[in-house]
Symmetry: D2
Subunit: 337 residues, 4 copies
Amino acid sequence: MINVAIVGFGYWGPNLVRNFSSIPDVQVKKVVDLREERLKVVAQNYPNTEVSTNIDDLWTDTSIDAVVIATPVFTHFPLAKKALLAGKHVLLEKPMTDTVDHALELIELSQKLGKVLMVDHTFLYTPAVQKMKDLITSGQVGKVKYFDSTRINLGLIQQDVNVLWDLAPHDISILDYLVNDEPVSVNATGVSHIHNGVENIAYLTVNYSSNILAHFNCSWSSPVKIRMMLVGGDEKMIVFNDMEPTEKIRVYDTAHSVSSDEDRRRVLVDYRVGDVYIPKLGSAEALSGMARDFIAAVTTGSTPIASWKSGLNTIRILEASQKSIKSGGVEIKIQNV
Amino acid sequence: MINVAIVGFGYWGPNLVRNFSSIPDVQVKKVVDLREERLKVVAQNYPNTEVSTNIDDLWTDTSIDAVVIATPVFTHFPLAKKALLAGKHVLLEKPMTDTVDHALELIELSQKLGKVLMVDHTFLYTPAVQKMKDLITSGQVGKVKYFDSTRINLGLIQQDVNVLWDLAPHDISILDYLVNDEPVSVNATGVSHIHNGVENIAYLTVNYSSNILAHFNCSWSSPVKIRMMLVGGDEKMIVFNDMEPTEKIRVYDTAHSVSSDEDRRRVLVDYRVGDVYIPKLGSAEALSGMARDFIAAVTTGSTPIASWKSGLNTIRILEASQKSIKSGGVEIKIQNV
Amino acid sequence: MINVAIVGFGYWGPNLVRNFSSIPDVQVKKVVDLREERLKVVAQNYPNTEVSTNIDDLWTDTSIDAVVIATPVFTHFPLAKKALLAGKHVLLEKPMTDTVDHALELIELSQKLGKVLMVDHTFLYTPAVQKMKDLITSGQVGKVKYFDSTRINLGLIQQDVNVLWDLAPHDISILDYLVNDEPVSVNATGVSHIHNGVENIAYLTVNYSSNILAHFNCSWSSPVKIRMMLVGGDEKMIVFNDMEPTEKIRVYDTAHSVSSDEDRRRVLVDYRVGDVYIPKLGSAEALSGMARDFIAAVTTGSTPIASWKSGLNTIRILEASQKSIKSGGVEIKIQNV
Amino acid sequence: MINVAIVGFGYWGPNLVRNFSSIPDVQVKKVVDLREERLKVVAQNYPNTEVSTNIDDLWTDTSIDAVVIATPVFTHFPLAKKALLAGKHVLLEKPMTDTVDHALELIELSQKLGKVLMVDHTFLYTPAVQKMKDLITSGQVGKVKYFDSTRINLGLIQQDVNVLWDLAPHDISILDYLVNDEPVSVNATGVSHIHNGVENIAYLTVNYSSNILAHFNCSWSSPVKIRMMLVGGDEKMIVFNDMEPTEKIRVYDTAHSVSSDEDRRRVLVDYRVGDVYIPKLGSAEALSGMARDFIAAVTTGSTPIASWKSGLNTIRILEASQKSIKSGGVEIKIQNV
């Protein structure tokens, strides 16, 4: 039996409790939150789960094997550090930490202590991303050449982090998962229409060592919700439209040759050049896959898909993007680790 | 009767001849092209139009009132200069010239000589752009805060200019038309997957004096054709999807307030916040409107929609974008004029 | 406090229990089902609800005020009759009964005994149907002239009823709700690709006294799910596409005049003639609205939207359609009541 | 050289002249129309084509090899008869004739005289229909089980024929081309919202000898244009959406098995069961293919795709549908021939 504690019972908390509870031989032993009224919700629905407003109880409770930290970003580092030092495995909500240095310190600590350190990049476990991974790994897509992501909607302005820290971790971690390539530098620009100066619209480009150009368009200010990702390869292009209820992944033939004037005219006029294929996706709940991957890492020592490496690579790009925005969009090298 | 000569009878030439020919009291007197086989096409379809491979005939032909220049970009300046000096009104294909200095020299010359100088930004005359202009001018959209354009498709690699010079003039001139604002600086990044180093994918952001952030995503390497523009205002957002056969313009309610937790949850889950309105657009051919606007400027001295100012503002941004790409995405101030 | 019993805990049962439980001053006192394993599910989730496999307990349990019958269609009549005779208010799942005569007998009984008799036409309580009702009642749509519904998908073959009895009640009851008109006759055709001869594809047209023509296309054999309804009026046409996640209702301008040849050409070429308006819909759960409407009828004597009249009109059309199919599509007069 | 005469220069006439003119060794020798102003249009654009208002000139002009008849339906029979008797090959616009008897008389005559008799079912030559034919012929679709077509839009009320005679020939001829099956009987219903009693909305079902059920939904009164066809087979379903600019044909996996309760739930919830494949279609102009097919039949004796058989089968169904509408939707046997 693995006993899990969950710290923070906000928007995402109920989903975490529900999914961890449904894994055989796993128990959600305790939920910690500063807000009494949130703990009442837990007590009502999960009578066997203890609740507490005092997080320090956790570190001394030796029955707890693993801690899931679902609190604001700036608290991730101190809480995860205490949890690791108390001998717990740690799962952090995204983004992993607020700085690369904090991420590195946690990684080093987890390795020294032999504890799992993982980040909840839930999207990596969606049937759509798994299908994209298959298409790329199997060679059907060919060599990936560019990546273009748009994630815009009417969001809630966050006081502490800008729109890139809020929305881009999803897309950056997906790209990191799909391609085995090293980010070299970033450029980012943004604008704030808010009093506190936090960017609500921002654009990020990432240059990779193999000449992939990745671009991320993030906004909290669009009344239309767009969740679209293009992955361009030599042979195929994948379009991932997450707003589509049933046709999230479309695969387009890319390969083409233009030899005559007639070809030229046709290419200019045509909407697309080849066949389209829309695979049927499974219906597994991503969060369930993530929770099980964490438990597997705890019990068998396996390397999870959303490993600390995935978390770290994401933070490296976000930290550099912030420097770039503050320096007027200048190219910022990614910190080597 | 206004006599028009057309220089260059490539992809766009037949459309120009057809549209100018259909204006009352306008005659396409001459077509000049270096390629004999292209002139044969003219002769076959327009028996009353003279053809020539020698452009210098034009300057001494006093029967020609106006010259339309539809040749490669780098020839725009020398040809337009000769035409103006020969006393002709000039219409240039987009982009206006290859440098801001060339544009400024032509503008000064045209003003000194009292001749029309105009740029064929055809898109400004489409029913969709006219409708957007109406929506903004009438105040329905409120204060414009951002602009986001995606223009990607499988394009033909051009040898002389990169993808921004090829595709972005459409979108930049539309934005320039829609808002009366001054561009201050740009950031641009791009990548070349081609041997000659010309960028086939590029991203451009433009900062305006009133804090509008404009973003342009241009690519020749997408097997899917996307032509989408978002114009975000205080009150409404316009989405212009040019691939839609009949619903090109959609207007979304923007205004919203989030006061409760329930509101918060709903905003996060909902796809949109308000009603959508899809106006019926007219079916006028844009190129016909452009041609008539040019002829009106020639005959009545009116200021055309696609004036030299529109052309110049576009070149100012393109020139700065090129500097930014070459300097690793650094912010480049727009040249004051 | 109103005590409700639910008979039948199959696919729909859990939704009924959840929604009735959440109404203030209403208690789901008992659930009856023949299958022990279904009752275990109730016991686990609703410890305060009694369970029983013996339906006859219900009739003598004077604490039960109202009975919800969610069993196969052919059992509706005998169970509802017993419930009414035992002094209970009755809510029947759709379709109300298997014959018009059975429906009439229940109605007469309920009126004699002063008990509520209502049918769960859940769709009438959806925000989309409510919006259509508003648009028609307010006069915006003008006089309704036709109604066309397509409800096809890959369904499960039912052994006892054909595809019209299974799927069309939704659409028939919506039409009955939207227009105050009397059905006069029906024609129906169908085909069975199944061994037992039950129609899996069927088409139904209903002629109304005011010259409305209504058409229903129902199929269990389409791998693509289509849920589309057109309501054509003098002034506007409504398209209700229930597969659209966020744009279920679209309102099209209808009014038009064709006077010139140019008009004629345009009408033939154009996709549509006027503006389109997509209202934002509320997000209320339809079943909750239905449950509250039943309880209001029980406690205040109000007439519910999904009254016995709605149920009866639906059965009248279904019964006639069956006769028409069996008679080779001949026109069958609707039984007067 | 084949000399062609075209009778009737209305909406479709210019397309016929243009396409026949562009075939090598074919000349449009003469155009006949009663309206002088229409003939002026011909003279202006085709100086080498003779024009006449007197159709009787045609029968004695021995230089004419073939006659294309594009006049109102009720004139098809007398004109085609005269043309055949004058020794001309004949191409008729759709629908072939106004009655089955007229069609049979023309067919007999053409066979006796050894002349081509063909009907312009242009749609059969579209890349979309050709692709559907390939998919069915190659066995990918499996055994076809149903066919469902919707062809509705805001049409011009025709004075002489109802909406089925106007719109359904497209779909009936497509179905006739796709499946080698014999229509057995029809049911049809319709409504007229027009003073002259001609049906503007009508529904037609056709029963085939192999148990295929075909259904046709035709309307002139929908402000939204829908052109959708479903072809359901054992293995695949084809959806042909002619309003889609670039994805006209979609192929859905059909085969499925439902064995568990979980399967059952999934089938009810899922939008579709398998992969979707969207083939890239060619861009050939259908009318050009039709014209060439007619000329090939004239010069080589080949059997065209849109043969008299295709025309006859369409009329047989239309004539029966009219009887059914007039008899209140009763099943009408198709006239054997």
